[in-house]
């Protein structure tokens, strides 16, 4: 097999996993994984061409500005980087994006969203964390709300979600809250993932794999 289509041979890149394996373990088909590889190559070579997505490259892809970041992009980067080695490898990229696929189980989306919001990874979403996130959002948007209103919104949200009234939202309470407010999962589905093969046609000439849709 040649490495003619990439400066970095995919087989020597750390974290590279075979498309057939990834397709078997995620919501993607083999050709969708191949298409994701094209996207991955683009993002992972944008600043440092080493077959890995560094934080600045992730920020560049999301904000079109490598120096821009926020609380949420940081959380998402850390969750994608489940080996916690500071970079997103191809396998991690595909497995994490799988949760955002329209066909991925809703339970996975609910759990992932919970982990994004659990800033300090205590297993609970505490009131201070929720307040911190609202303030972070206000900081970066043109939405201006007074401290009173912020407090009122956080209080009201907590009243609705924290059924056990223990000052924190656990996974069970979160699941119930989401079932009553399904629009909260809107960011957890990327419809584009279903059409990814159209945007990134794979140029692998000698793919031996038969693309069979289960």
């Amino acid at each position: 097999m040649g490495c003619f289509h990439s400066k970095i041979c995919r087989f020597s890149t750390p974290g590279y996993e075979e498309p057939t394996l990834l397709a078997a373990e995620t919501a993607f088909t083999v050709s969708e994984v191949e298409a994701l590889y094209e996207l991955f190559k683009k993002i992972s070579s944008s600043i440092i061409d080493d077959g890995l997505i560094h934080k600045e490259e992730f920020q560049l892809a999301i904000f079109k500005n490598q120096n821009r970041k926020d609380l949420f992009s940081d959380r998402i980067f850390d969750l994608f980087d489940f080996k916690c080695n500071g970079v997103i490898e191809f396998g991690e990229f595909v497995r994490s994006l799988s949760v955002f696929h329209p066909n991925a189980p809703v339970a996975d989306k609910i759990a992932f969203a919970f982990r994004i919001y659990d800033l300090r990874q205590t297993g609970y979403i505490e009131r201070e964390e929720l307040q911190e996130m609202v303030l972070a959002l206000l900081n970066e948007s043109d939405l201006i709300l007074s401290d009173d209103i912020v407090e009122m919104i956080v209080d009201k949200t907590f009243d609705e979600a924290d059924k056990k009234s223990d000052g924190k939202i656990d996974q069970e309470e979160w699941k119930e809250f989401v079932s009553k407010n399904p629009s909260l999962l809107k960011n957890m589905t990327l419809p584009y993932l279903k059409d990814i093969t159209l945007a990134f046609p794979s140029f692998v000439m000698n793919s031996e794999v038969e693309d069979s849709e289960v």
């Binding site: 904000f63 949420f72 994004i116 939405l143 209103i149 919104i153 809250f177 629009s183």
Partner: protein, 111 residues
């Protein structure tokens, strides 16, 4: 009109850092929605939208917190259809999200 109340989590989900669709989009200039806040009451917002709609000869339909406007003139890309969804943060503070449903906004200019 029954409005959706925005929880703290809804507000947070407005963050661009949370929106992974940017990984796939080359640029956001073709984004067809806009969001703004207002300290007017819901009924004032609806009246203002209806006023704008009548100036552009739009048909207006109200449903579940959304004011749906459809242009009557047939343009290059069909009739212009716009949804303005009103969310309540407090009774005196609302967020309006305007989304283009169809048509070509270049043919119209809305305030």
């Amino acid at each position: 009109m029954k409005l959706t109340w925005l929880s703290a989590f809804d507000i947070i989900s407005l963050s661009p850092g949370f929106d992974l669709s940017s990984l796939f989009e080359k640029d956001k200039s073709h984004r067809s929605d806009a969001r703004f806040t207002t300290q007017k009451s819901a009924s004032t917002i609806v009246s203002r939208l209806e006023e704008v709609a009548s100036m552009g000869s739009f048909k207006v339909k109200k449903k579940d917190g959304t004011v749906k406007m459809q242009g009557s003139k047939e343009g290059r890309k069909g009739q212009l259809a716009i949804d303005a969804e009103i969310f309540e943060i407090t009774p005196a503070f609302h967020v309006v999200q305007v989304t283009k449903k169809s048509g070509d906004t270049a043919e119209y200019s809305l305030h």
